[in-house]
Amino acid sequence: MPDEKLKKHEIQSEPGGTFSRRQFFMTVGMGSLSTAAAGTAVFAYQFLSPNVLYEPSPVVNAGKPESYAMDSVTLDVNSGIYLIRAKEGFFALGAVCTHLGCLTAWKPESGIIACPCHGSKFKRDGEKIEGPAPKPLPWLRTWLSDDGDLLVDRSTTIRPMEFLRV
């Protein structure tokens, strides 16, 4: 019996060879399994990320500039933007709170934008007054289409105080 054990031991480290047959198959086996596991992880990640989204376009048509009164703040609930006509010109703000994504509301009586969820408050130009919101409301790229409609791109933010003069 001890002889047999010795033989098995010898097979694992054959003289001259750096690799026993068992070690070779262990390496090949573990390597294949690791590759398969990595492939599965990539496959799962790609499968769970949709390639086509049926979400509304980021560009919103806000209509004719004349339809907005001077010093008015208009919330479009469906697209989640404010279209504001100030003395300096037009600008658009994202109406989605920068805290946790609730839709904010314009309070005409106090002249501020307020979030119903956790009480963040913003000035009319998006600047933060108070509340848990970490950032001001973003200014969104706004321009006039060839037909004279106001267009707002919700996916592109611009620096504040860049008014659109019509």
Binding site: L48, S49, P50, L53
Partner: protein, 259 residues
């Protein structure tokens, strides 16, 4: 002489059909009673012997069992609700209202599901506090505490994913806020948010993903961990007895019970 109920039951237990199902056989010796537990696929998770003290209400307040009871109610009512609910944007809210106002017993089942869900969250926390203050989390039971934490998280995730399914304003904004909390995770936050919702907005994909999580993935995971949680009680030496509580029945206890 009229036969007692026990004698009838013993006769049934001795029939060929019964013995082909339950192998432990007739008789009520300690061995037979142990085998009845040990050889049952469901009961074998549990200890064959339990200290009498551990069966009293004051030892555990039955909080774990009650939590499991609410889980069973939730699975049963949930499967029935699935028969009328379509996880699609045009139908989800209407189906919820149909369940309340059109389907026979729909309101009862929906409310039972809802209240059991609240009760389960409450009971899971109560169970945790009871285990904590009793000191039953200490070695060798520390790993079962960890499994309990996993089950607590699964319970909360089940609550959260179920919240979206009625597809009303409360659901929509709760999931908007909740999924935005997930984006606060460092580095991968936005990716997690995207994968969780299957898009950038709480939309049709999000509804379907939450439905699958709520009805398949999370309940199956919960059942898996519940099984381990129960089995570990036996493996860790049964329910925790405090040093002041007799680990075996002393003569004094037996005498008291005899009264």
């Amino acid at each position: 002489m009229a036969k007692t109920f026990d004698q009838y039951f013993d006769e049934v237990r001795d029939t060929r059909v019964w013995r082909s199902i339950f192998r432990s056989g007739t008789g009520s010796s300690t061995l037979k009673r142990s085998l009845a537990i040990q050889q049952n696929v469901f009961l074998h998770l549990f200890s064959t012997k339990v200290r009498r003290r551990m069966l009293s209400f004051s030892a555990t307040w039955y909080l774990g069992t009650l939590t499991f009871g609410t889980f069973v109610i939730l699975v049963t009512t949930g499967i029935l609700l699935m028969l009328y609910y379509h996880p699609s944007v045009p139908q989800a809210y209407a189906d919820t209202k149909d369940l309340q106002f059109v389907v026979s017993s729909g309101l009862f089942l929906r409310n039972l599901h809802r209240w059991s869900a609240h009760a389960m969250v409450f009971l899971v926390f109560a169970h945790m506090f009871k285990v904590f203050y009793r000191g039953a989390y200490r070695p060798p039971r520390e790993f079962n505490w960890v499994i309990g934490i996993v089950l607590l998280l699964i319970t909360l995730l089940l609550s959260y994913t179920g919240y979206l399914l009625p597809w009303d304003q409360l659901a929509y904004w709760a999931i908007t806020v909740g999924s935005n909390i997930a984006s606060a995770v460092p580095v991968f936050g936005d990716k997690i948010h995207f994968l969780l919702l299957g898009g950038n907005l709480v939309n049709a994909n999000a509804l379907l993903r939450f439905y699958v999580l709520h009805c398949m993935i999370l309940p199956l995971t919960a059942i898996f961990f519940i099984a381990i949680h129960f089995w570990r009680i036996r493996k860790d030496g049964g329910l925790y007895a405090q040093p002041s509580e007799p680990s075996t029945l002393t003569r004094a206890v037996l005498a008291k019970e005899g009264q």
